[in-house]
């Protein structure tokens, strides 16, 4: 069971309070009808499946209820950081250096 820092609660809490919510920074297109079939397919289904740092979403579902973003290393299963929904994607190099 992991420990996850909720950026809204500003507390590090057990994974059981959280739910995974898929890859992060995949914005819903403003006008889906303008997308080609291929572009729409990519939005729906194509994910990075990263080996290493992975940008992903979690929800503090049994806590404050907020969705937020995280960078988790899929090899070590370690959270490099968490940040609020809507914040910019952090730069990886700096994070990895800090790890």
């Amino acid at each position: 069971m992991l420990l996850i820092n909720c950026p809204y609660c500003e507390a590090t809490l057990p994974e059981l309070e959280f739910a995974y919510a898929g890859e992060a920074h995949i914005d819903r297109p403003a006008d889906p009808s303008a997308l080609s079939d291929e572009e729409w397919r990519d939005f729906l289904f194509i994910r990075t499946n990263a080996r290493g740092p992975h940008f992903e979403r979690w929800r503090h579902i049994h806590g404050c209820g907020r969705f937020f973003n995280a960078v988790r290393d899929t090899v070590s299963d370690r959270f490099l950081m968490t940040y609020k929904a809507g914040e910019a994607r952090p730069v990886l190099n700096a994070l990895e250096a800090a790890e």
């Binding site: 069971m1 809204y8 507390a11 809490l13 049994h62 806590g63 404050c64 209820g65 907020r66």
Partner: protein, 178 residues
Amino acid sequence: MTTQRHDFNAQPFLLEELPPVGRFSLRVRPGQREALAAALGLELPTAIGQRSSAGQTEVLCLGPDEWAILTAEAERDALVAAGAAAYAQIPHSLVEVSDREITLRLSGAQALTALTAVCPRDIDAIPVGRGARTLFDSATVLLWRDGPQDFRMDVWRSFLPHVRAILDKITVELKSGL
């Protein structure tokens, strides 16, 4: 409804089902929090887990834009009216959930221990006078810490039989002394 008490001397903790109160889920944009608080005559704390109280009304901050409000049943209409009056100026959501939850009170020497049996969060790290939405076994609950060994737990109605059954098992376990 009368308060159900389970009070034996040898009990490791006292478990009470508290009578109904007015409960509300309040949502408002953070930028309008202060204005709404003034309109409702309440303090709406900004830190998640923080509480405030005024008279018989208690507020617990659950999220950046979410508060649980408990009031005396007699005061619920006034709160609803205040919300309705402010709505046009300060859009918000004030939903009554008085019947959604039932409050259990756990107090006594081993109340904290009883909670640590099934709550994954570090319950002892919740300061007295604060609260949290968290997990009790597989039920989401609002936990209010009123004293070192004094807690209230708001449980969704349909989860109550399970929560009580687990607490009964914990009681038997703690009574055994092992």
